[in-house]
Structures are given as structure tokens and as C-alpha cells.
């Protein structure tokens, strides 16, 4: 568990000096660590990709609300008139 946090802090550049020393020592002693760092970096990229996809779906939901619900009709007409009544 601690190792995951250390790798995170290393990736985010927030290791304090004592932990940075510990991390350097671990890198020398544990030859599986570099590979773990790469996969963890990869995981962060995947979390971002996943999260953006979810966020875009939420934004699309907001869009659908505005362009379908009766209470937003005036807003909808204002926007559509910019494109379709030219």
C-alpha cells in the first residue's frame, strides 16, 4: 500500500526529502519497481481517459435536458434561431 503511495508521490513530484532517499534506495534494490512505475503512470492516463468519458456523458445529459425539456424552450429557440432561421 505504502509503495503505491510512494510511486504516486514520485509521479506527482511531491516526495519529501526522506522519502525521496528511500525511493532511490528501493529503485536500486527492487528491479521490479521501474516496471511498476510505468504501469502506475499508465493507470493515471487510463483514469483520466475514463473520467473524461464520464464527464462528457454528463455534459451531454445537460445538453439533452436543455434541448428537450419544456421549461428550457425559450433558451432552445434562441439557440436554434442562430442556425436555422438564417
Amino acid at each position: 500500500m505504502n509503495e503505491i503511495k510512494l510511486i504516486d508521490d514520485h509521479l506527482f513530484g511531491v516526495l519529501d526529502p526522506a522519502d525521496a532517499l528511500l525511493f532511490d534506495a528501493m529503485l536500486i534494490l527492487d528491479n521490479t519497481l521501474p516496471e511498476k512505475i510505468v504501469w502506475q503512470q499508465n493507470t493515471h492516463a487510463t483514469i483520466q481517459q475514463y473520467s473524461r468519458k464520464k464527464l462528457k456523458a454528463e455534459i451531454e445529459d445537460a445538453h439533452q435536458q436543455l434541448f428537450s425539456k419544456p421549461q428550457h424552450q425559450r433558451f432552445r429557440q434562441k439557440i436554434l434561431s442562430l442556425f436555422f432561421n438564417r
Binding site: N42, T46, S51, K53, L55, A62, H63, L66, I79, L80
Partner: protein, 180 residues
């Protein structure tokens, strides 16, 4: 990193936040894109990308808004429009063909992996999203996901990180074999 925000922490609260931003800024953005000869769908795509950028700026806390939200979103949208316009002009058919090939090569493994994470790994992915992408305060995350306190939420974050990291490693290697 975590800070108070004005967009809320649940999907329903975020939806209200996006609806209010739409009302504030989309008329200006749509007016601009329309004036430049763009379509409704192009205005929508550009505005939605601008909202993602704005959200990420807010959640990383690396950002202080010096102008109002409406002006900021219009500024990003204008920038995205001019970028898109230039790309359209410069991109020859050959470039487009190469892009298409590259996308095809990369997609199968990542799309399959993403599908796996969205289904089997959804709970962990939601927790990791709350920590790393939404940057929510740990006590909010503990409440949202029903943990007894901040400590168990933090323990779960690292457990999930380890689990997802192993899954990505295993699946990436497996899918690589599959493609070859």
C-alpha cells in the same frame, strides 16, 4: 489539491452546474460559431470540449478566474474553433488516411480495456476518478462512497490503484498477444 468548488460532487449537482454554464455562455458561443459559418453540431462539440477544459482547470486548482465564466468559455471556444478551422485547411487526404490507420491500430486494445474497466472495474474506477480527476476532498469521497471515515477511503484508494494497475498490465499484455 482538493478544494471547495462550485460544481458539486455528485452527477446531479454537476448536471445543474453544466446547465447553468450552458445558459450563461452557449448563446454567445453558438452566435460566434454560427457567424463563422459553423453548424449547430459544431458549436455543440466545441462548447462541450470547452466545458471539459474549464472543469479540469477548476478541479486541478491551478487556476484563478480573472474574467467571468462566460468570457472565459467564449475565449476557449474561439481558440478551439480557430484550431479546428486550421486543421481542416491543412489536413490533406493523405494525412487523414494515415490518421485513420493509426486510430484503427490503437483502438481495439484500449477500447476493450476501457469496456472491461467500465463494467467489472466500475466501483474502483469511480473512486479513483473522485480522487484523481474530480479532486474531491477525502471526507466528501468517504461520504459519497459510504466509508466510515477518511482513513478507510484513503486505504481503498490505494487498494483500487493497485488492483486497476494489475488489471491494466494483465489486459494490455493479453490484448497485445491477441492483436499479434
Amino acid at each position: 489539491m482538493a478544494q471547495q468548488n462550485n460544481f458539486g460532487s455528485t452527477p446531479a449537482q454537476r448536471e445543474q452546474f453544466f446547465i447553468s454554464l450552458y445558459k450563461k455562455a452557449f448563446p454567445k458561443v453558438a452566435g460566434y460559431v454560427g457567424k463563422m459559418g459553423g453548424s449547430f453540431d459544431e458549436a455543440k462539440d466545441i462548447f462541450q470540449d470547452a466545458l471539459v477544459i474549464y472543469y479540469e482547470k477548476l478541479t486541478t486548482g491551478s487556476f484563478e478566474l480573472h474574467v467571468n465564466e462566460q468570457a472565459y468559455l467564449l475565449g476557449i471556444s474561439r481558440h478551439l474553433w480557430s484550431k479546428k478551422f486550421k486543421e481542416n485547411v491543412q489536413q490533406t487526404d493523405l494525412d487523414a488516411a494515415f490518421d485513420a490507420i493509426e486510430t484503427k491500430v490503437q483502438e481495439p486494445s484500449s477500447a476493450r480495456l476501457m469496456h472491461y474497466l467500465e463494467t467489472a472495474g466500475a466501483k474502483c474506477m469511480e473512486i479513483l476518478k473522485a480522487f484523481y480527476y474530480d479532486n474531491l476532498p477525502v471526507n466528501t469521497i468517504a461520504t459519497l462512497f459510504g466509508y466510515s471515515g477518511t482513513r478507510s477511503a484513503t486505504v481503498q484508494k490505494y487498494k483500487c490503484m493497485e488492483k486497476v494497475r494489475e488489471t491494466i498490465k494483465e489486459k494490455s499484455l493479453a490484448y497485445e498477444d491477441f492483436i499479434e
